[in-house]
């Protein structure tokens, strides 16, 4: 009996001390306990001095990297807004704060999260990270009159029938179209596709790209897929691309796959053409292993929301510098999109003059408003998807340099 208690005690203290020291470091100034503020907003938002934004995302588990980045982007935005005097509704300024819910990348947990937020009286929610989770909660947002901005749910159908659902990212069909158009303009005739069949982001982009390529008359000579985003080996797929004679391969994957696995393995399998990806490819430079032959990263291109050197406003560059100062690493797209979701809410609340769900929804639904954000300047279309221009960004490596360089090549648009 004694030993059992002892072992429980030891495991417990070990776990507690490790997490406690870990989480203590993470706790950002903006992440003050949301308990009291939640009660404050419950009565009616404009009564208290703070407005609580709900934030749902996978904070732990295998997709934690998406959720935690959305959170750090959103918290940076909140910190900056609060430092600048908060959100001005009428003649009163309100501070922003967040109530974070962890959905662990599971749709049931995501549903529980939004229900809990709604019953806490929160009417402005950011989330969730994946299209699968977001599709489980859009209906709740609509029926309960709660605004929902998904920072990274790219699936086309998320916003189409739901008035209360908006997003700050591209939708799949838009990016797919841009990529296909680029391939057409540059005169590539033999196109290959490598994608992940079990991932909504990857498969959604593949569908959009295939559809656009069909319209533009591009020939898709080979198409290969992997069964999960945790797949480590892409050599066989690229060997087939080589034997099919593909000149350009569309690779809708995330940077954590591109840097260490896909690009080097594609080159090793003898593929020397262009690798064209979507916004998930951004930040590949952070996942290149030391000791890797950097010349393999030549001709890796991707469609992105913004490029700091092409930015029309200074919001993007301000975001990049402040983020780097605060967290000590370069921001990725999830950071930028989470940051933008907060900026959009701020603008909409100030326009509506209220933090009420229905009023903010009406403000967001106004398609004439232009939002100046980290991921570019945009306004919403009727469905709630931003109309953005895409930027084509590419990686290149010059012999002798110590790292690859990322340069904006040109602005892409559908027309």
């Amino acid at each position: 009996m004694k030993k059992r208690f002892l072992s429980v005690l030891l495991t417990g203290t070990l776990a507690l001390s490790l997490t406690a020291c870990g989480a203590a470091k993470e706790a950002a100034p903006a992440a003050e306990p949301a308990a009291e503020t939640a009660e404050a907003t419950e009565a009616a938002a404009p009564e208290g001095d703070t407005i609580t934004l709900g934030l749902i995302g996978p904070m732990t588990g295998s997709l934690a990297v998406y959720g935690t980045h959305i959170q750090s982007g959103a918290e940076l935005a909140i910190e900056q807004i609060n430092a600048d005097g908060g959100v001005k509704i009428g003649d009163k300024a309100y501070m922003l704060t967040t109530e974070v819910k962890d959905d662990q990348g599971d749709s049931t947990e995501c549903l529980n999260s939004i229900n809990a937020l709604v019953s806490d009286g929160i009417s402005l929610v950011i989330g969730s990270a994946t299209s699968g989770c977001t599709s489980a909660i859009t209906s709740v947002a609509n029926s309960e009159g709660v605004c929902l901005i998904t920072p990274s749910g790219t699936s086309d159908s998320l916003t189409t029938t739901m008035d209360y659902v908006f997003r700050t990212c591209f939708k799949d069909s838009f990016q797919g179209e841009l990529a296909a158009k680029y391939a057409k303009d540059e005169g590539f005739s033999k196109i290959g596709i490598v994608y992940c069949s079990a991932d909504t982001y990857s498969a959604g982009l593949r569908d959009a790209f295939t559809a656009a390529a069909g319209k533009l008359g591009l020939e898709i000579v080979a198409e290969e897929s992997v069964a999960s985003m945790a797949e480590v080996d892409y050599s066989n797929q690229f060997n087939k691309m080589v034997s099919a004679g593909a000149e350009l391969v569309f690779t809708p994957f995330y940077y954590d796959v591109m840097g260490p696995y896909l690009v080097p393995q594609a080159r090793q399998a003898g593929f020397s053409g262009v690798l064209l990806g979507a916004d998930g490819v951004d930040n590949t430079e952070t996942t290149i292993p030391d000791g890797m032959d950097l010349s393999v990263y030549n001709d890796v291109l991707f469609v992105n929301h913004y490029a700091t050197e092409l930015a029309t406003s200074d919001v993007s560059s301000k975001f990049v510098t402040t983020y780097t100062d605060k967290y000590g690493e370069t921001p990725n797209n999830f950071d930028a999109l989470g940051y933008d979701a907060v900026l959009v809410y701020k603008a909409a609340m100030e326009k509506a003059g209220s933090a009420d769900g229905a009023a903010v929804q009406a403000a967001l639904a106004d398609t004439s408003v232009v939002y100046d954000c980290a991921s570019g300047t945009f306004s919403f279309d009727e469905t709630g998807t931003p109309i953005k221009t895409g930027v084509l960004v590419g990686y290149s490596y010059e012999a002798g340099a110590s790292e690859v360089t990322k340069t904006a090549i040109k602005v892409l648009s559908v027309e």
């Binding site: 059992r4 072992s7 429980v8 495991t11 417990g12 776990a15 507690l16 997490t19 406690a20 870990g22 989480a23 203590a24 706790a27 306990p33 308990a35 996978p58 904070m59 732990t60 588990g61 295998s62 997709l63 819910k101 962890d102 662990q104 990348g105 599971d106 749709s107 049931t108 947990e109 549903l111 529980n112 999260s113 229900n115 809990a116 709604v118 019953s119 299209s131 699968g132 599709s135 489980a136 859009t138 209906s139 709740v140 029926s143 309960e144 699936s155 086309d156 159908s157 189409t160 029938t161 739901m162 069949s197 079990a198 991932d199 909504t200 498969a203 959604g204 569908d207 069964a227």
Partner: protein, 376 residues
């Protein structure tokens, strides 16, 4: 045990079930925000978790075989029922959830889900004739993986089919997927299905079949020597278990407006996966149906309150940081339960309403015995 005693027990259970149903029917027609946002979704989630745990208990607790792919059957049930309901809705068979047509659709979907899952259960049951223990466990794990992998690759029901594309919103609006309001007003339906399933399973376990199955668990050779066809009973148990997992799958697609195959994987971030169903059964007590029910509800509440409970906010700051990792707390709680109740909460006993008045006495005597044992 005396005859009238048994009849009395049945009477008590019947009364309890009637009271339970009345409570839920009343709750279903009561309008309240907490009820709608918190209780109703929780009841639906508990419904399928209970059926999953109890149906796995048939294989794990009564037949004594470890199955690591139970969620595969649930996936089959969920996708079957979702597709059927979606097809009927597209065909214009029903438009409103509050109609007799939808009731028929619901029944058809649930029965079809159960039957298709049971057919798959036959396929999984066959290896069980030849393999046992950890080897069977890995085979069932394999089957679970294959089912998920195949669903991912079927064009009309992969992640693209129902979680994505135009179908996802269609499933919400008119398919099986219930909104919060509907979840509340149909709460009693979920509870009724659970009561029916549990009654059938308890009857199965207590029947001649159940006795033979337990005999196989305890001594296979002796059971076959007494003239029982072991193969038949083993496959029967697998089929029966898969049948109910299929029903749980149908309930899952009622409770969720969109489906994704990751929810039915071997492990994933949440508590609905094959591994955690095994955990629920063992924590509840292998061979105890009431134990499975208690464990399913308990595990759900633990998981739910770690994330959404207000008591977490009352904790000291450093503990609150620990609770941002729900799986960590959950796992530590599991180890503690296993350490102190290695046979599960109920062991292989059943909780009987008839016995409850006697419990305080028994607990007191338990501690007395323990004290006496220590003094000696």
């Amino acid at each position: 045990m005396k005859k009238e005693n048994t009849a009395f027990r049945y009477l008590i259970n019947l009364v309890a079930i009637i009271i339970l149903m009345v409570v839920f029917v009343v709750l279903s027609f009561h309008s309240n925000n907490t009820l709608k946002l918190k209780v109703a979704p929780a009841v639906w989630q508990c419904c399928y978790l209970i059926i999953m745990a109890a149906s796995l208990n048939l294989v794990l607790g009564y037949l004594g075989q470890l199955s690591l792919g139970h969620c595969g059957f649930m996936a089959v049930g969920a996708y079957t029922s979702a597709l059927i309901s979606l097809a009927l809705q597209r065909a214009g068979f029903y438009t409103e959830k509050n109609s007799i047509q939808f009731a028929i659709t619901l029944i058809i979907s649930i029965v079809a889900a159960a039957v298709v899952a049971a057919l798959i259960g036959v396929i999984v049951g066959i290896p069980a004739l030849r393999l046992k223990g950890d080897y069977l466990a890995i085979i069932t794990l394999g089957f679970g993986m294959i089912i998920v992998n195949l669903i991912n690759n079927i064009p009309f029901c992969g992640q693209q089919g129902l979680a994505e594309g135009a179908a996802s919103s269609a499933l919400y609006a008119n398919g099986l997927g219930f909104t919060n309001d509907e979840k509340q007003s149909f709460m009693w339906v979920g509870v009724l299905i659970v009561v029916l399933c549990m009654t059938t399973m308890v009857m199965f376990v207590r029947s001649k079949f159940g006795r033979v199955i337990r005999a196989i668990r305890d001594n296979e050779i002796a059971t076959s020597a007494t003239g029982n066809d072991i193969s038949y009973y083993k496959i029967l148990t697998f089929v029966f278990s898969a049948f109910f997992a299929g029903i749980a799958g149908a309930l899952y697609s009622c409770a969720n407006v969109s489906l994704a195959t990751t929810s039915f994987a071997f492990t994933n971030g949440s508590i609905l996966n094959s591994v955690f169903i095994v955990v629920t059964v063992v924590v509840g007590g292998m061979g105890s149906m009431t134990g499975s029910v208690i464990a399913a509800i308990g595990m759900f509440l633990l998981n739910y309150t770690i994330k959404n409970g207000s008591w977490v906010n009352a904790l000291p700051e450093f503990l609150k940081n620990v609770f941002t990792y729900p799986m960590l707390v959950y796992s530590i709680a599991l180890v503690i339960v296993i350490l102190f109740r290695p046979k599960g909460i109920m062991g292989d006993k059943e909780l009987s309403l008839f016995d409850i008045p006697g419990y305080p006495k028994r607990i007191a005597s338990y501690f007395k015995n323990k004290k006496a044992a220590k003094e000696v």
